[in-house]
């Protein structure tokens, strides 16, 4: 006869109760990844945030090129003082390419500001509020915590800042010029612009791990962006390192031109620095005391 102790009985009861529930998959540095990513993406797509993003970015980015595509030609045809204004605005480029360049430039400017604002709170707020400690008391690997923050922001920007406005821009250009923009070079150009946004997202997430003050995170993020913009006139060499001419790289690709050394260096440097920021964030967060 088998005699069961009270402990064994209660263990058996628990096993029965747990029956049917499947243990979460993903171990090692991916533990908790799927659940966290679903939650982080839910912040973009399952709250009202998506509606605001859906309205905001097309208004800013597509509204910006709607002026030279639709308003300026109308003014040119009705008012002689505007004669040649469109050509001047696009610096001699065909309208469809000129407007794409304008679109790229605006995505770089507004998108970078957006990327910094989106990411600034991701880590620091969770550290300060104590929700990070709560999450990390569950079976969650620390790299998963950082990577899901990064990935959800990149996906959010890909959809709302780059993807949808890009599609609308293509539609606008076709409506205005009846010309199709070459799709593959356009998409590669967009990927380059997105890389610039990922650079700032990973920079700000790394700063969120390293700093304890939100103002420091914002200050350094915006500081690097604006300093780069201002300094490029006086120290163009800065383009070897920082993502200050990603729109230019996009245009070169669109025109099928080989990339000058400076822009090629910028592209490589931005990719390498992005990886460095992510590695530093992961390494430092692994040792962070909660």
């Amino acid at each position: 006869m088998t005699v069961q102790t009270e402990t064994q009985v209660s263990q058996d009861l628990r096993t029965i109760t747990r029956q049917g529930l499947l243990p979460a998959s993903g171990g090692g540095w991916l533990a908790g990844y799927g659940n966290m990513l679903a939650k982080e993406l839910g912040e973009w797509f399952n709250t009202r945030r998506w509606l605001w993003q859906l309205l905001l970015w097309p208004i800013i980015l597509d509204g910006w090129i709607a002026f030279p595509l639709f308003v300026l030609p109308y003014l040119e045809s009705t008012n002689p003082t505007f004669q040649g204004a469109t050509e001047k605005m696009f610096a001699g480029l065909p309208t469809e390419l000129g407007s794409i360049y304008m679109f790229y430039s605006m995505v770089v400017l507004a998108g970078t500001l957006g990327a910094i604002i989106f990411a600034q709170d991701e880590v620091i707020q969770e550290k300060q509020s104590g929700t990070a400690a709560w999450i990390l008391s569950k079976p969650v690997a620390r790299p998963a915590f950082i990577l899901t923050k990064l990935q959800s922001n990149v996906i959010g920007m890909l959809v709302f800042v780059v993807g949808l406005p890009g599609l609308i821009a293509l539609g606008e250009i076709y409506l205005a010029t009846h010309q199709l923009v070459p799709l593959v070079p356009f998409l590669v150009g967009m990927a380059v612009i997105l890389l610039g946004l990922v650079f700032y997202t990973s920079l700000v997430i790394m700063l969120g791990v390293l700093c304890e003050s939100r103002s420091k995170v914002l200050g350094i993020g915006f500081g690097i962006f604006f300093a780069g913009m201002m300094l490029k006139t006086f120290f163009p060499q800065i383009a070897y390192v920082l993502p200050i001419a990603m729109d230019g790289i996009g245009l070169s690709i669109l025109l099928g031109m080989p990339l000058p050394v400076m822009l090629l260096s910028e592209l490589i440097s931005v990719a390498v620095l992005t990886v460095v920021f992510i590695v530093v964030a992961l390494w430092r967060f692994q040792r962070k005391e909660m």
Partner: protein, 325 residues
């Protein structure tokens, strides 16, 4: 699960130093399977630090620890799969509802099926009595409701070990009562390791207690042993009634002449006397003490027994001794 190893938590010389402050000094702790282990100490004693080290939220400066035999530094995720944790000041995403928080928590442990996860969430909501608030954002929750949610999220994965950091500290008497009730109900399912500075709670629900002071453990024992004053003086309380003063004086002489009697103090009360006999030999006292009194039939013994201490006395005594070192 592995039930062969009866130790759930084991630490060896665990220490933690913050710059120049030593928060934990060589902690050696053993928590047995299916016990309710009260981790007692004044504020700043190192209780939360110990808990956070066990969960991998902070790194120890020295020493080693295992939970379920897993190393706390190398196998932290494996440990957390079997643990439910309630922080001292638990924080959650304020915009989410209690049900969403619990669902999110459950999915760190289980991937499906959805209806079974939902059923488990509903079960823990019922367990802590949050049925009416389950679908409201938690930003509107009171302290007690947050604590209930905290217990629910710590319990959602059927943990083999429940770690509660000051679970009743911020609650009113009713809330405290509820929390202790839940702990008692969970006793048969899980090992509970909880920190507190509320002595009354420890005495009510714990079976083993460790007392921590200034980062150092000054006592660890089953609660009965601690309250019996083991390791300290052995004292017997006797309540006597006597017709004559001579009978009392004779009994006093008989007792104080025994080599194993250390001290006798007498407090006259209304119509009776309280004797406290301090002895060095517990066996001799149990055999002979009562008999030595009852030789004289004019003496009536109304009460006889070994003195038990309350936890407050034990705690204050130990902490004062430690502080005076």
């Amino acid at each position: 699960m592995d039930t062969s190893n009866s130790l759930v938590i084991e630490t060896q010389n665990l220490s933690k130093t913050y710059k120049e402050t030593q928060a934990l000094k060589g902690l050696n702790l053993t928590v047995k399977h299916n016990s309710i282990f009260g981790f007692l100490g004044p504020n700043g004693a190192g209780k939360s630090t110990t808990i956070k080290i066990l969960l991998g939220l902070i790194q120890p400066s020295g020493g080693q620890a295992t939970v379920f035999g897993h190393d706390i530094q190398r196998e932290s995720v494996a440990i957390r799969r079997r643990v439910g944790y309630l922080a001292q000041d638990p924080r959650y995403y304020e915009h989410m509802t209690a049900r969403q928080i619990l669902n999110y928590t459950a999915r760190f442990f289980y991937r499906g099926p959805k209806d079974l996860i939902d059923a488990r969430v509903q079960e823990v909501i019922g367990l802590v009595g949050l049925d009416n608030k389950a679908d409201r954002p938690i930003r509107g929750f009171s302290g007690g409701e947050r604590q209930r949610l905290g217990i629910a999220q710590a319990q959602v994965n059927y943990p083999d070990l429940l770690i509660l950091d000051e679970p009743a500290a911020s609650l009113d008497p009713m809330g405290r009562h509820d929390v202790l009730d839940v702990m008692e109900r969970l006793r048969k399912y899980t090992t509970i390791f909880y920190s507190t500075h509320i002595l009354e709670d420890v005495q009510r629900v714990s079976d083993t207690v460790a007392i921590l002071n200034q980062g150092r453990m000054i006592a660890e024992a089953p609660i009965d042993q601690l309250l019996a004053g083991d390791g300290g003086p052995i004292i017997y309380n006797i309540t006597l009634k006597s017709v004559t003063k001579q009978a009392v004086a004779d009994a006093q002489t008989r007792i104080t002449s025994q080599p194993w009697v250390q001290h006798l103090s007498i407090t006259p009360e209304d119509g009776h006397m309280d004797w406290q006999v301090s002895v060095t030999d517990e066996a001799a006292a149990e055999d002979q003490l009562l008999g030595l009194i009852l030789i004289d039939h004019s003496l009536k013994v109304m009460n006889f027994g070994r003195k038990t201490f309350n936890l407050e006395e034990v705690f204050l005594d130990l902490v004062e001794k430690e502080n005076s070192k």
